[in-house]
Amino acid sequence: MTDEHKTEETRALRLGIAGPVGTGKSSVIAALCRHLRDEFAIGVITNDIYTDEDARFLKSEGVLPEERIRAVETGACPHTAIRDDVTMNLMAVEDMERDFAPLDIVLVESGGDNLTATFSPALVDAQIFVLDVAGGGDVARKGGPGIGRADLLVINKIDLGEHVDVDVVQMVTDAENARDGAPVLPLSRKRPETVEKLCDWVRQMHKTYAAGGHIPIDPGPMAPHHHPHADSHEHGHPHSHSHD
């Protein structure tokens, strides 16, 4: 008997959290676990570049029982692990769902990489892309598959805006423009009402998913290079960043 044949009733909502290094993916997950653990049965899969640092952080935060936080080591290819070769993550999710059945939500944290990495719909049902104001106010305007088409864009650490000379309102507006009206959530763990909005979004997503009304959306492939002198070497097709 193989172990990956899932019955529908044990399959959880698989929610991916992506975004560049240091934007606060682990903190977002910690906040979700802390606020939702009494309503939902939750498991977490972390993806790390070096060893299992993120899993250790979450365990040390004590937001979930330790056995519900598992690390997948990605061999310095964090975007490969969520995009073109999802097997390790998929099995980690399936194992988690089997070992703690029934789970309501499995959160998958991508290894912090770059702006272009998004989850494959083969791995997650929905995904949150996390930016922060400290990364610069123009990041949201630049767009990209995660910023443009993730199910939710979180702009984190908004309390830091004034310290890093970023106009938070402008950044949120830029993001909303880049997303054609898809949801953007300004977040700060120091502002409980923003955390509650994040939780509400997850509650709503779970409700839609459980009712069979959510269809995973692929934010799209990795972003093509921007060529400032397109006329000098026109490519017939956009080429992608290969993994390093």
């Binding site: 193989t2 070096y50 080591e73 070769d85 097997t87």
Partner: protein, 228 residues
């Protein structure tokens, strides 16, 4: 050349390709632990490492892949649990036994999605990677020799690919080593397939003491790039 003369070589390339989505990229085949221990520092050391790995762990995996393929070709999977036990006995490090079974589960998961077959479901919960490779080869219409070659290539090229991330090294030099090793891989694949009609107890048991020891250290290391 006529198509029938080259056999199923495209299927072999599919199976041996490092881009097959089975999670192999997260492993360095013992190279990272060897570098951490200071035993591989330059291109010459890398070449000695890769040859030693191929002659030991690679050949071991190859003969087991060939044996699993032969059994699977005949539709008789009843010997696979014993084959698994024989392979366990040839891997002293529990960490490396786990890595082999993790990679085996992943390969089975991937292959069963790519090319579903009842043989994949008949494998145990966490089958060893060479055993899955052998079954996958048979399912794709390949023979024991191809199964052996596929895993020899995976073993060697996987570790070599990690070298570029772990060492200050010219990637062309890494592939030059692989190019020099191609005849060796062919030879070892033929040798591995010679055991298919023999009792499993007679399968080769080449050991690699430092690989086992280093794997146990690696698992306990706080900072590592690769899972093994």
């Amino acid at each position: 050349m006529q198509v029938h003369e080259i056999g199923k070589q495209a299927a072999l390339l599919l199976l041996a390709d490092g881009r097959l989505p089975a999670g192999g990229y997260a492993h360095s085949g013992g190279l990272e632990p060897a570098i951490t221990a200071g035993r591989v520092t330059d291109v010459a050391g890398l070449e000695r490492f890769l040859i030693g790995r191929t002659e030991t762990a690679g050949s071991l995996a190859a003969s087991f892949a060939a044996a699993a393929c032969a059994g699977s070709q005949g539709g008789d999977l009843s010997g696979l649990p014993m084959l698994e036990a024989e392979l366990d006995a040839r891997i002293p490090s529990p960490e490396l036994r786990k890595v082999s079974r993790d990679l085996g589960r992943q390969l089975r998961r991937a292959m069963n999605s790519i090319h579903p077959h009842s043989h994949f479901a008949a494998l145990g919960r966490a089958p060893h990677q060479p055993v899955v490779m052998g079954v996958a080869a048979a399912v794709l219409g390949l023979g024991p020799r191809e199964a052996a070659l596929a895993i020899l290539h995976e073993n060697t090229a996987g570790a070599a690919a990690a070298a570029a991330k772990l060492m200050r090294i010219d990637p062309f030099e890494v592939h030059a080593i692989l190019a020099r090793m191609t005849a060796r891989l062919d030879r070892l694949a033929v040798k591995a397939a010679e055991f298919v009609n023999r009792p499993f107890a007679d399968l080769p048991a080449p050991g690699s003491p430092l690989t086992d020891i280093a794997a146990e250290h690696h698992r306990r290391s706080d900072v590592r790039l690769f899972a093994s």
